[in-house]
Symmetry: C2
Subunit: 256 residues, 2 copies
């Protein structure tokens, strides 16, 4: 299980300010701290960018590449923002993410094909909703994979994200259970005949609720997913308790 | 995932004293507290009993049955102690455990067959050693299952325990990784063509080292195993942090 940092996000006021000011230093400082904390990939999420600021993803990529060689994840629902980021990347990034929304299939999938990148298939339906059941997630995964393969990608380029619920959502534990089973199903090879790679954004769980719920909940859910065979955990790598346990999980699941 | 209490053990001074004095009250108090804390089964482990004290297992069973209807696990390497306990049980217990040691195959297996109980197959070889690799564990599991089925048990009666290492053992994390993979292999149904039940004694990890290592380590390892499909977790149910997280795990893995 690889750890990816979700810390470089426009939701963070320091980062939002740095993007507005075109000041690379706070971004570079954050990237260095994530690398030192044990991140093996960096997710770059500039947040919503109005059309005249779509170049901010390229600025973010440039800034981060000056201080680290860690592989990058370009995280945006906006194909133009992803395209700007892609053009600035020295190494092929991971694109995050495709869903069954038709506009994304039309505009994001061709980017992945053109640049032959890896891409995250977020298990959301054509209206960007997470199917609550395992069966619903399987149906979306099958269709997304078919669209990706038809477009010219290979299974090795695909990473499936079954979308962890937020604690505010109704039925959060049954939904987390469906995510767990989906990771297990994909990782075991039972769905596609060979193990598929999976990613989960752990911070989704307590997003907006960090002061109410302890990080322990995130540690336990991450370990459940790691035990099920998760490939890539997108986490707050600057939380030392979370990272300490994530590294223990990594030692256990990667050893043989 | 069911939680079983490992608290009723002769290694605990209060329990050892109660067994010596034939005083049921401390045992009953402990059994009640375990039930209240969320245990769904009680493991009864009187520790080593010299021949003239082998009836202490029956005393323990009698004492506990007076205060709880929870299913019991009779935990002893001594077939005569297990037989004494079995004779006292109102409901069929789970026998813990068979290994590939010839004496146990000759004396414990017939008890399970005679009483048609469920039985734990501890993945230890003929010299009571845990095979370090997944392949070694698979070989022992195949042979133990074959012996059990030949003797007249069915797959539904078998629970496999791949033996969690202690933190003092060399290569503890790779060994824990092999245990994790074995649980996943058994639970997925890939080994026997149908999912097999699994049990792990979580307290093994920090046994004798509880003052040095935090319970967090046990929580993380339990969640890894739960994510892999563990059926039965044998734990210290009187540790509130451990139980709180175990119940969260149960909510996630048992929901659909």
């Amino acid at each position: 299980m690889l750890l990816a940092a979700d810390n470089l996000t426009g939701a963070h006021p320091v980062m939002a300010q740095a993007l507005r000011d075109l000041d690379p230093r706070p971004l570079q400082d954050l990237a260095r701290r994530c690398a030192a904390a044990g991140a093996r990939m960096l997710d770059l999420n500039p947040g919503y960018l109005s059309p005249r600021f779509e170049d901010r993803m390229a600025f973010l990529v440039d800034a981060v590449q000056e201080v680290t060689d860690l592989p990058l994840i370009l995280d945006s629902p906006n194909p133009r923002v992803l395209a700007r980021g892609l053009a600035a990347c020295r190494e092929n990034p991971l694109l995050n993410a495709l869903t069954l929304e038709e506009a994304k299939l039309q505009e994001i999938l061709p980017l992945a094909v053109e640049h032959q990148t890896r891409i995250v298939l977020l298990l959301l339906d054509e209206k960007s909703r997470p199917p609550p059941s395992l069966e619903g997630k399987v149906a979306v995964a099958l269709e997304l994979r078919e669209r990706a393969l038809d477009a010219g990608l290979t299974d090795r380029q695909l990473i499936f994200d079954p979308v962890l619920p937020n604690l505010r959502w109704p039925e959060v534990w049954p939904q987390t259970g469906a995510v767990l089973r989906m990771v297990r199903y994909l990782a075991s090879g039972a769905l596609f005949g060979a193990p598929a790679r999976t990613m989960v954004g752990l911070s989704n769980l307590r997003s907006g609720l960090r002061k109410i719920y302890p990080v322990q909940m995130e540690i336990t859910v991450m370990a459940l997913l790691a035990g099920a065979g998760l490939s890539l955990a997108l986490i707050d790598v600057l939380d030392p308790d979370l990272v300490e346990q994530a590294q223990l999980m990594t030692q256990v699941v990667e050893s043989s």
